[in-house]
């Protein structure tokens, strides 16, 4: 009897300890987000004291002379992202519609892993291909002094965003009840009209989420852009900038952090850029999540 009691006790303790451990692990995600934000603040905020705001938001990035204007980096990120979306949105949504609405089942089963394959490719491999294949081709085709341009980055980043967009948009299209489509057919609509007027509008919040997350991936992408956009921190405000070298925020951090002394002004400014990137990614991802959440709520209201 005593042995049994002892066992019960040690079992209770084990149960208690394990439950505690699991609970703490559950909170870990919050801790890490807070830690990341804290360290970005801790290393990035001093930049505001060391570099005056006028310089920080100027158009010259030339750290050797103490010029830390981040506007060219922001416009660089912007133009590459916009370009990438011009590629990824039509191709991503088109492919998703093809897979979910048009392709026969077997073809879908073939296409899905292929698109996932693209999603699984390390970004450094895409950058490598960009250097060796895409940029020489672009240089000849468009008669440019160099193929390492915002355009090359936009095309490759578009490729990186496509799998994200396809998989989420396809899920959203799949989630549209078959009865909607059947209803449209029963009213005499063609399949094409059904896709265009019924299915796509019904899946719009999912598709919007897909695009948002695609944007999130694109803004944060580092290696590919660093390798193919030519790394010239010049202000990109004109459409022509698409055909010249640019430099993004991510590439700047990746390229320069390895060579700065920790604690220097340059170091703090790079962390400051990281902080900006962190906040942008937070805004993009949380609004994407909010779209999903809102449409879920709406669906619950409609169905109940």
């Amino acid at each position: 009897m005593l042995a049994r009691e002892h066992m019960e006790k040690s079992k209770n303790f084990r149960e208690y300890a394990i439950t505690r451990l699991i609970r703490v692990s559950g909170y870990s995600a919050i801790v890490f987000v807070a830690l990341i934000f804290f360290f970005l603040l801790r290393e990035g905020i001093p930049a505001l004291a060391e570099v005056d705001l006028g310089t920080l938001f100027s158009t010259r990035w030339y750290p050797i002379e103490g010029l830390y204007g981040i506007l060219p980096l922001i416009t660089g990120s912007l133009i590459v992202t916009v370009g990438a979306m011009l590629v990824a949105v039509p191709f991503g949504i088109g492919t998703a519609v093809f897979m979910s609405e048009i392709a026969p089942r077997w073809l879908r089963e073939v296409l899905k892993p292929l698109v996932e394959l693209l999603g699984g490719l390390p970004s450094v491999v895409l950058g490598f291909l960009g250097i060796l294949l895409l940029s020489p081709y672009l240089r000849v085709l468009l008669d440019l002094p160099t193929g390492l341009t915002a355009l090359a980055g936009a095309i490759l980043l578009g490729g990186i965003a496509v799998p994200t967009i396809v998989s989420i948009a396809e899920d959203a299209l799949d989630a549209v009840p078959t009865s909607y489509r059947e209803g449209a057919w029963a009213l005499g609509a063609t399949r094409w009209q059904t896709i265009w007027r019924v299915t796509l509008p019904a899946a719009r919040s999912g598709i919007l989420t897909a695009v948002m997350l695609g944007i999130g991936r694109t803004i944060g992408e580092t290696m590919t852009v660093m390798m193919v956009t030519g790394n010239a921190p010049v202000l990109a405000v004109h459409l022509n900038s698409l055909f010249s070298p640019v430099r993004t925020m991510t590439a700047t951090i990746a390229a320069e952090m390895g060579e700065v002394a920790s604690g220097s002004n340059h170091y703090h400014v790079l962390f400051f850029i990281g902080m900006v990137l962190f906040l942008i990614s937070l805004a993009v991802n949380l609004s994407a999540a909010a779209i999903v959440f809102r449409s879920k709520k709406r669906a619950e209201r409609v169905l109940s």
């Binding site: 394990i18 692990s25 995600a29 990341i36 490719l121 491999v125 580092t222």
Partner: protein, 286 residues
């Protein structure tokens, strides 16, 4: 009347062809590029290439230290992220109730999933390399990659746990099982294939990443293999970056060979995950 029908038919045909063309343009380059890399890279791959140290400023010899380094980093990432990620998933699926705290955890996971990889690199530099003084090391890089893979592992594991029928839990509890006994003996074994799939997909991402290890653990070139977790290491993705941008007059063959090895490493993991998933689905009893 007849005319509009014809028109509608024509529009539908045009539309379908256009969409099919778009899908074709998306998929063909993927296949083409894969075939091209295989064709270009395969001749470079030899026993020596896989197992020898680089020579001649990396322009000759093999990529052994980069392969070993990526292996170490992947294992190191797994050591930290797998137990933590699975435990967090168990918490969300089995313990957490719907309240503000749980919602905050979910928001945090979404946020972690969206943070750019280079920002993880900065964080790793700030916390692990400098503040905790691990230096540029396998340890610091693995920890950085772990936090980056955590959301992938948590989400996939939670989904796998939730797919285990609720009735199993009720029955186990009704037979006098505690919550943990129920998880340990029934829920976890049933969710395991799904969890393993998620873990591999997370680690696959870690294995292919460059930006988070740039300032936390990657070495440009090392004449020997790392001897401890506190040493820096070469790694396949970083090595590919180095030989395609930093080394002049690099032979193409070695570049393509390295790219091919990296792809095989990463996609091999993906393949394993896919096989486990489809096998488990076929065997599942519920």
């Amino acid at each position: 009347m007849k005319k509009t029908f014809l028109n509608r038919d024509l529009i539908q045909r045009l539309g379908f062809s256009m969409i099919s063309l778009v899908a074709l343009f998306t998929v063909v380059p993927i296949v083409g590029v894969m075939i091209y890399i295989i064709l270009q890279g395969a001749p470079a791959i030899s026993w020596e290439f896989l197992t020898a140290m680089p020579r001649d400023g990396m322009r000759a010899g093999g990529i052994w230290p980069a392969i070993v380094g990526t292996f170490y980093l992947t294992v190191g990432t797994a050591v930290f992220s797998v137990p933590l990620g699975i435990a967090a998933a168990i918490y969300l699926s089995e313990y957490a109730s719907e309240n503000w705290l749980t919602r905050t955890i979910r928001i945090a996971i979404i946020s972690l999933a969206g943070i750019p990889s280079v920002v993880y690199g900065l964080f790793g530099l700030g916390l692990f390399v400098l503040f905790l003084q691990f230096g540029t090391s396998i340890l610091a890089a693995s920890l950085t990659l772990s936090i980056m893979t955590l959301p992938v592992i948590i989400s996939a594991s939670e989904e796998a746990l939730r797919s285990v029928p609720q009735a199993f839990r009720t029955v186990s509890i009704s037979l006098g099982g505690t919550r943990w006994q129920t998880i340990r003996r029934i829920v976890l074994p049933q969710a395991l294939p799904g969890i393993i799939t998620g873990v591999i997909l997370g680690l696959e991402r870690a294995a292919g990443e460059t930006a988070p290890i740039l300032f936390t653990g990657a070495a440009f070139f090392l004449p020997r293999l790392p001897g401890s977790p506190l040493d820096a290491t070469m790694a396949l993705p970083y090595h590919l970056f180095v030989i395609s941008t930093q080394v002049p007059e690099m032979p193409f063959q070695i570049q393509y060979g390295t790219a091919l090895v990296l792809i095989i490493f990463v996609l091999g993991m993906n393949l394993v995950a896919t096989v486990i998933r489809s096998r488990a689905r076929a065997k599942r009893q519920w």
